[in-house]
Symmetry: D2
Subunit: 324 residues, 4 copies
Amino acid sequence: MNAFGQEFRVMIYGESHGPSVGIIVDGVPPGIALKNEDFIADLDRRRPGSAGTTTRKEEDLPKLISGVFNEFTTGSPLNIQFENRDVRSIDYSAIKNHPRPGHADFVAYKKYKGYNDYRGGGHFSGRLTVALVAAGVIAKKIIQPMHIEAILSEAGGQTDISKAVEQAINQEDSIGGIVSCRVVNVPIGLGEPFFNSVESQISHLIFSIPAVKGIEFGSGFAAARMKGSEHNDPIIDSSGKTASNFAGGINGGITNGNDIQFRVAIKPTSSIRKEQESLNLEKELIETFQIEGRHDACIALRVPVIVEAVTAIVLADLHLTQVR
Amino acid sequence: MNAFGQEFRVMIYGESHGPSVGIIVDGVPPGIALKNEDFIADLDRRRPGSAGTTTRKEEDLPKLISGVFNEFTTGSPLNIQFENRDVRSIDYSAIKNHPRPGHADFVAYKKYKGYNDYRGGGHFSGRLTVALVAAGVIAKKIIQPMHIEAILSEAGGQTDISKAVEQAINQEDSIGGIVSCRVVNVPIGLGEPFFNSVESQISHLIFSIPAVKGIEFGSGFAAARMKGSEHNDPIIDSSGKTASNFAGGINGGITNGNDIQFRVAIKPTSSIRKEQESLNLEKELIETFQIEGRHDACIALRVPVIVEAVTAIVLADLHLTQVR
Amino acid sequence: MNAFGQEFRVMIYGESHGPSVGIIVDGVPPGIALKNEDFIADLDRRRPGSAGTTTRKEEDLPKLISGVFNEFTTGSPLNIQFENRDVRSIDYSAIKNHPRPGHADFVAYKKYKGYNDYRGGGHFSGRLTVALVAAGVIAKKIIQPMHIEAILSEAGGQTDISKAVEQAINQEDSIGGIVSCRVVNVPIGLGEPFFNSVESQISHLIFSIPAVKGIEFGSGFAAARMKGSEHNDPIIDSSGKTASNFAGGINGGITNGNDIQFRVAIKPTSSIRKEQESLNLEKELIETFQIEGRHDACIALRVPVIVEAVTAIVLADLHLTQVR
Amino acid sequence: MNAFGQEFRVMIYGESHGPSVGIIVDGVPPGIALKNEDFIADLDRRRPGSAGTTTRKEEDLPKLISGVFNEFTTGSPLNIQFENRDVRSIDYSAIKNHPRPGHADFVAYKKYKGYNDYRGGGHFSGRLTVALVAAGVIAKKIIQPMHIEAILSEAGGQTDISKAVEQAINQEDSIGGIVSCRVVNVPIGLGEPFFNSVESQISHLIFSIPAVKGIEFGSGFAAARMKGSEHNDPIIDSSGKTASNFAGGINGGITNGNDIQFRVAIKPTSSIRKEQESLNLEKELIETFQIEGRHDACIALRVPVIVEAVTAIVLADLHLTQVR
């Protein structure tokens, strides 16, 4: 199923080179002010075009097909749709028979028995994240005063991110990065013990973002090397505020009122200009081939706003289903 | 909701000091041979008692309340129940008013408005993982010939795990660890692109295990420092086998036929004998207190079989819902 | 899946002749007073023993396995379990090979490939409705001040129900009936337009009750012969009260604040003492056979409290998920 | 939630006077041949325009936004979209303040706090059934060789349906009817005992169709007056064929291999030209008003193809989730 959520429910559709991509957002309360301009800031953060990202031009004007009337949400499902305009199909023709290493081309061919739309990655394309960002804009309105901030804290192992990207471009290669995310003004009590802890749900959606390889909350992997006496966050007042935040704002799967904190590992873009070897699906032989087209040297640059969006989707769902 | 799964669906219930804990397993195909002895090996791996784990004696004989007839599954829901026998309620009385740092006591009190069963952590207790292990035994039968193997590869930052545990016991402290998991004989095509990638679903359930702080697939956090030209796994034959496995056996959220590989970070046990400070919920004051009772110096010792169980649950669900 | 509900979620388990039957109830808010005696009145209404119902003795003392602490719900899942004590397996041995006409024996054998527990109908037994009634007791507390009342308004085509039952007993036959249900104090706005109208959800659960053949809301089948000018219920005040109630309290799938009204058709009990013909599954021949054991001449006598229970389950779920 | 289904999942969106209505269909297997013409026959059956139905012109050309490539389904979600072209907003302006008796206007206003799109019934409009019919076209392909046939067997209490409609038109009134549905070539074993019987699921979706007031399977309401000895369908061969079909092809919630048979009661159209009284929402007074615009004298004429569609959706879902 291409859906997520209990009360705030999203369902995504579309292919990179089809007429449109979009997202259905169900469970949005009525009376939320919403107009096209509300999407611009977040969509701009995701948009390609800066150094290290593809130069493919995506105007990304969302069309609100349903669920909005007189610039307020109605309580009915929203269909937020983005036309695919700047599509150069020729760039991707080679992948019909040559699944790109590191991409979903091979598994899509096998899973869907050759019927998948292979152009530009089809339904697996990063293009669909535009729809996630749009749903995130609405989710962010619902979860107020909770506020989410994600940044690219490291790229290619460096904190001077511009320099790291420049190097990658010069080498015709690509680099990964780390996205750090923090949520403030979190109420106590979001999440369920089994099987829907806050970490369960956030990680579930974070791993829907292409190129994510890992997630850690609070102390994360460092916890494996800590002692209990160091790791336990002392509660320092009756609101539950803790002196440290190794828990990442979550105990037993439930928010404890401190900031939610997590970090996400992003792999280097799989599409690179360098010659690579791969399978020729038709001939069933290994061949050398080269990926044409426009690619991101550092896809991680575009990921923070997507991390914010999916986190907002999860929190909106938890917010709307919390114990009353 | 305390449930997980689409076609293979589990729902957990019980409290540490209630009469029983257990799990409902729905969607089990009829005709799977199942008897009580089938649970012993996995339950033994989870059982406390070795150095570094609590000496609380849990006989853990599962009772098959429903869904099994003449030692075969019937196709109806299974209720697998474990009586709570060796319960010393007195050990935990202090926590009624003193939420233990690092535990769910405080959030449970707040979320459930003081009505939660606080004894031994109640529904949040690690005791409930016995039910996960039991469901895992059934799931492992369903997913054959897929096979899962999880090990504790590191504890307290050391690979000599016995030594690390001994040190922690001597210091009346606790340590964390890393669990490494591998699944072999994986078919191509499990998982869904949005929002139910294999990583989404595995991480979802892994974060249902108490004490988990992070998860990474394949290259994981190291990917953030790699280049695309290194990270792309070259396909070397028509079955999709790859020379390296930085993908962890998953591309675009879908299994690619190589081994699924992931690592899980486990925090040090929160319950330690050392004096700690915490909130007195009644007086709304910070006080010093000490946790009595039996505790694990290294809960991570008991986690590998639970990681296997929840991974099996996810794979059974994916196996039963895969594209036909 | 043997589950129902979004926020108030039930999952049923057990077989007629297994150790226990029961129900998991998840999503119950914390702090609801609940003790064993609360179940007695409704369980008594379902209990067999009056004229026209089987003389099988079911003590039906519910055991609250989880989710209740100090006689209040905790917010964790409840497991309400009923032991099967008065089981005479010998009565049902014939059905292993002779699927009873009008029963699920044949389809259960086929669907579960012969692995189903055939004793007493197994998981298909009316015995499981005891668990529905128990869940209903909790649901009724949640939906207050909404109040549900179902009665057997007609049996065997007669309104003198005792007389109709007596006749059926004398004829060693069985009769059906009509259950009429009314819900009062209904708020405006429960239900969803597509696909989860109040009628959708109530009918969904009503058709989980064995022996139900039809359901109609408000005017029901009579509407097919009415004119629009008669059928439209005029709104007579600003609270939405209507002069007539052909709508059955629901417009466009949403409650309109008037009483919800519906009627349910119950077929005659399939188990009768008369000789019948059926398939011998082993020999694959049609044979004459006779059902032994204790049976209800009018199962409809026991249905009203079950109708109330499942209606309460639906309304509790809607109540907990309504637009906030 | 505006969604239905486990493995074959539909999610509907749109408003009568918004830019488009449509449906997302997820879980469609890859490789099903599908082109625009495939929708024409069923859409024509639903189309208004014959005597007794509104003269509103709906071209109803579906646009396949996603999930189809080279005229085959890809395995990704389909978005099937219908533009709203022939919209005369002025007709419906009166209903902003005057909720039409028998319509959802009043409950929509209350449930969505006045933010609902009231034009033409908004999201509650019968217009959305065009999307159901489209999803049904795909579902019908999936369930082959099962075949569904629904007819209007009675209108206004008469079997000469044309005459009944003519009378209603002359009286400026509207009439209801009965739709009879039969499914042939049904395999044994579809459906789940609790809570997802075939009747549960079919009735769930049938009550998503506007104007439905009741449903009965097989013997239906007549069963309430029958005896067990009459009602039990004798099995006459080893395939499970029965001499009679009072069960409607379903025992214990599971298909028994005989035809599924059910009947649906449709109320008379609520929109009539006659003057009616209703609430003025703004003034909170009861006033006389008259509905302008184009209306169906007998909406039941258009319902059979919608009954087929939703039945196909249910059966496709059951088919894709049946015991393997």
